[in-house]
C-alpha cells in the first residue's frame, strides 16, 4: 500500500497478486462493493416497506397546506401556508437563535475566560466555578430548568410585571412596544448597511494614516456615530414617523407590540450560558498559550492592562482560539435543535411536525440534514477564511 514511496523508479516486476497497486484497487473494489450492497439492501427494503404501507414518496407534499400553527415567526406565516413555508420559518428561527447565540456566548465567554485569569482571586474562583457548573451538566437540563423557571416563576398576563408602563414581563414572555410599520424602515435598513460600510472605510483610512504619520484617530467613536447616524438621518428625512404599537392587555393575553417568547428566552439563555463555559476555557487557554514576555513587554511599553489585552495579547491569542471556537460555533448551531424539547419552533421541530402529519420520514430527514450541513459548512468556510486572515504571516 506504500505506493508513492516507490516514486518514478521502475518498479520491480512482481506477480499481479503481489503488486501493491493492484491489491489496493482490489481491496477498494471489495469494500465499496460491500458498502454498495448494504446500501442496496437498505434501499430495496425501504422501497418495499413504503409500497406496503402505501406511503407516498417525493417532495410534492411541500406545496400542500401545512395546517399547523407556529408560535414564533420572522416572516408572515399562517396555518394556510405550505409545508415549504413552515419549514422555512423553522429554518429562519434556527438561524436567529444560532446567530444571537454565537454573538452572545462569544462576548460572555470571553469575559469569563479573561476573568479566570484575573489577579483578583475571588473573581478568578467565581469564573472557574461558573465554567465547571455549567459545562458539567447537560444543556437539555439547563433548558428545562430555565424554561420552567420562566413559565412558573413569572406571573400570568393579568398580573404582569410592568416596567415603566412600556415593558410587560409575564409567563407569556416579555412584551414591548415597537414602531408601527412605515415605508421608511427598509430605507433605514439600507442606511444601516451604508453606515457599517462607511465605518469600515474609516477604519481602513485611520489605520493607514496612523501607519504613515503615527497620529491616532478615534475610530471607535467615529464608527459608532456612522452606524447610528446614517439610519437616523434617513429617519429624519422620512419625516420622523414615531407612531408606536403598544402592548395592551385584551382578554387573556396582550395585543400589539411585540414579544420575546419564554421558549426563545430559555433556549437562547441556556445555549449562551452553556456554550460560554466552553468558550471561556478556549479563550483562557489561548491567552495562557502566549509567552509571558508578551504581556511583560506590553507593560514595559506603558500600555494599560486593557490596551495590552486589546492590542497585544488578544490578536496573538486569536490564532490559538479560532480553530476550537469554530467547533463551538458549530455546536451552538447544532445544539439549537434542542429547541424541540421546550417547544420552540425551530427547523427540527417544524420538520418533526411535518413528519408526523405526512408520514414521509425519509424526505424530511434529508431536508434536516441538508439544511444543517449547509449551515455547518458555511460556518466552517467563514471561520477558515478568518483563520487564514489572522494567521501569522511568516516572511
Amino acid at each position: 500500500m506504500v505506493v508513492e514511496t516507490l516514486g518514478s523508479t521502475t518498479r520491480p516486476k512482481v506477480a499481479p497478486w503481489n503488486d501493491p497497486v493492484i491489491r489496493g484497487w482490489a481491496f477498494q473494489i471489495v469494500i465499496v462493493g460491500l458498502v454498495g450492497l448494504l446500501a442496496w439492501f437498505l434501499v430495496s427494503n425501504t422501497m418495499e416497506n413504503l409500497a406496503r404501507q402505501k406511503i407516498a414518496s417525493g417532495y410534492d407534499y411541500l406545496s400542500r397546506e401545512a395546517g399547523f400553527e407556529i408560535g414564533d415567526s420572522m416572516i408572515p406565516y399562517s396555518p394556510a401556508n405550505t409545508y415549504a413555508r413552515a419549514i422555512l420559518v423553522g429554518m429562519l428561527n434556527t438561524l436567529k437563535v444560532a446567530v444571537l447565540g454565537i454573538i452572545l456566548s462569544t462576548i460572555l465567554g470571553t469575559l469569563i475566560g479573561i476573568g479566570r485569569l484575573s489577579p483578583n482571586w475571588l473573581l478568578a474562583k467565581i469564573c472557574e466555578w461558573y465554567v465547571e457548573a455549567f459545562r458539567n451538566v447537560p444543556l437539555l437540563l439547563w433548558l428545562f430548568l430555565f424554561y420552567k423557571l420562566i413559565s412558573e416563576a413569572f406571573p400570568g398576563p393579568r398580573q404582569a410585571i410592568n416596567v415603566l408602563g412600556t415593558l410587560f414581563l409575564s409567563n407569556r414572555g416579555l412584551y414591548f412596544p415597537v414602531p408601527v410599520d412605515d415605508p421608511i424602515h427598509p430605507w433605514m435598513g439600507l442606511g444601516l448597511l451604508i453606515g457599517i460600510a462607511a465605518a469600515f472605510a474609516v477604519k481602513r483610512w485611520a489605520r493607514r494614516r496612523q501607519d504613515a504619520t503615527g497620529e491616532p484617530f478615534p475610530t471607535i467613536w467615529a464608527g459608532t456615530a456612522l452606524v447610528i447616524g446614517v439610519p437616523f438621518v434617513v429617519w429624519l428625512l422620512g419625516g420622523a414617523p414615531h407612531q408606536m404599537s403598544w402592548p395592551e392587555l385584551k382578554g387573556f393575553n396582550f395585543q400589539g407590540g411585540t414579544v420575546i417568547q419564554p421558549e426563545f428566552t430559555a433556549l437562547l439563555f441556556g445555549l449562551v450560558v452553556y456554550t460560554s463555559a466552553f468558550v471561556a476555557e478556549i479563550v483562557r487557554s489561548g491567552i495562557l498559550a502566549l509567552h509571558k514576555g508578551q504581556s511583560e513587554a506590553a507593560m514595559a511599553l506603558g500600555l494599560s492592562r486593557g490596551q495590552a489585552m486589546r492590542l497585544v495579547l488578544l490578536p496573538q491569542a486569536l490564532r490559538v482560539i479560532v480553530p476550537p471556537m469554530t467547533s463551538q460555533y458549530l455546536n451552538i448551531t447544532k445544539n439549537s435543535s434542542l429547541a424541540i424539547a421546550i417547544g420552540y419552533p425551530d427547523l427540527v421541530a417544524a420538520v418533526n411536525v411535518t413528519i408526523n402529519q405526512t408520514g414521509q420520514a425519509i424526505e424530511n430527514v434529508l431536508i434536516i440534514m441538508a439544511a444543517y450541513l449547509t449551515v455547518s459548512l458555511s460556518i466552517s468556510a467563514f471561520m477558515n477564511w478568518y483563520n487564514k486572515r489572522i494567521a501569522l504571516r511568516e516572511r
Binding site: N45, R52, S337
Partner: protein, 426 residues
Amino acid sequence: MADVLSANERQQLPPPASETGALGWLRKNLFSSWGNGITTVVLLVAIFWLLTSFLDWAVVNAVWTAPTGQSCRGHGACWALIHEKYRFIFFGTFPYNEQWRPLLAVIVMLTMLVTSADRRMWNARLVWIWAVGSFLTFLLMLGQIHIPLALILFVALAVGGVGMLLRGSVAAPAELNGWRTLAAIGAIGILLRLAGVLPPWSLAIAPFTYVETGLWGGLPVTLILATYGLLFGFPYGVLLALGRRSNLPLIRGLCVGFIELIRGVPLISLLIMASVMLPLFLPSGMSIDKFLRALVAIILFSGAYIAEIIRGGLQSLPKGQFEAADAMGLNYFQKTMLVILPQALRVVIPPLINTFIGFFKDTSLVLIIGIFDFLNAANQALVDPNWAGFPSEVYLFAAFVYFCFCFSMSRYSKYLEIELNKGTRR
C-alpha cells in the same frame, strides 16, 4: 548570647507582617489595587446576598418530609419531593419490587468504569472484566438472556478471527493454534447450522423475571447508552480514522464523507432518523427495539467523533514511525497494530475521556424519542399532580448527579494527561 551573633545575622528581620500569612495573602490576591479592592467588596456583597437567599430557600425554610406537595407551599425548597421520588428518578418505570437489579447493574458498571481508570489494570485482564461485567449488567437489567447457538458460534468465529489477526505475528504457535481452533469451530458450526444439521437451540439464562427495555429508565439507561455507545463506537472510529488517512482514494472518500456527514448534523436528527427511518430499512417482519435504535444512532454518532480524535493522534506521530515500520518489512496490518495504534491511542486517551463526558451529557437527548434516561425520569417525576410546581428542586438534584459524574471524570482526565506526559516532560 546576643553578642555571639554577627552584625549581619542580627539584621535578618522577618518579612513585614503585611506580606506574609493570611494578611499578606489577602493583600496580594484580593486588595492589590483600588480597583481590585472594590471588585472584591462588590463580589463579597453579591455572594453574601446570593448565598443567604439560596440557603434560606434550600436549607432554612426547606421541607424535608411531607405527605404531598400541598404541605410544601409557602415554604422553601421542597426536598420532600426528592425524598418521595428518588427511586423513580434513578430507576424510572422499572418494576418497583425489582429495583435492586438496576441498582446492582449501576454498581457493576461503576465498578467496571472505576477499575478501568486505574492504570495498573490496563492489560488483557480488563477485557475479561468488561466481558463478565457487561454480561452481568445486561442479565440484571433484562432478567433473562436467550443466546441462540448461531450467535455463540458467530462469537467464536469472530473472537478466533480477531485473535488470529491481532496476535498472528507475535504469538507462540500454541496460542495461535488455539485461536485457529476457535475460529474453525465457529466457521464449521455456522455452516452446519445453516445446513440444518445443528438444531435451532438456544442457551437460556433466566434467573429473574424478564423486564423489557421499554420499562428501563433512569441512571442505568444513561450509563448504558453512554458506555456502550462509546465502547462499540471505538473500534468503528478507529477504522474510520485509519480509512481517512489511507492512501486508497475510494476508501478515503467513503470515510471522509461519512465522518463529515455525521459531524455536520445534530444528534437529534440522527435520533429522529433512527426512530422513524430504521424500521423502514429492515426487511418486513423484522422489528428493532426502540432502545437498540437509539443505541445504533449513538454508536454512529460516536464513531464519527472518535474517528476525528484518533486522527489527531495519528497525525501527531512523526513520519519516521511509519517509515521505520515499512523499512522493517511489516505489512499494513502489522504496522498499524504493532507500531502506529499503540502510540497514537496513548496520546488520545485524555480527549477520549472528554468525549465520554460529552456523550454522558448528550445521551439526555434520547428523551426526544421517548426513552426514559435519567433526565427524562426526572422530567416525568414532575408530572405527578400531587407534587406539581417544584421543578427547580428536581432539576437541581438531577444537575447535581450529572455534575458529580462529569466533574470527577474531567478531573481524572486532567490527572491522566499529566500522568501520561511524565515521560516527555522535563
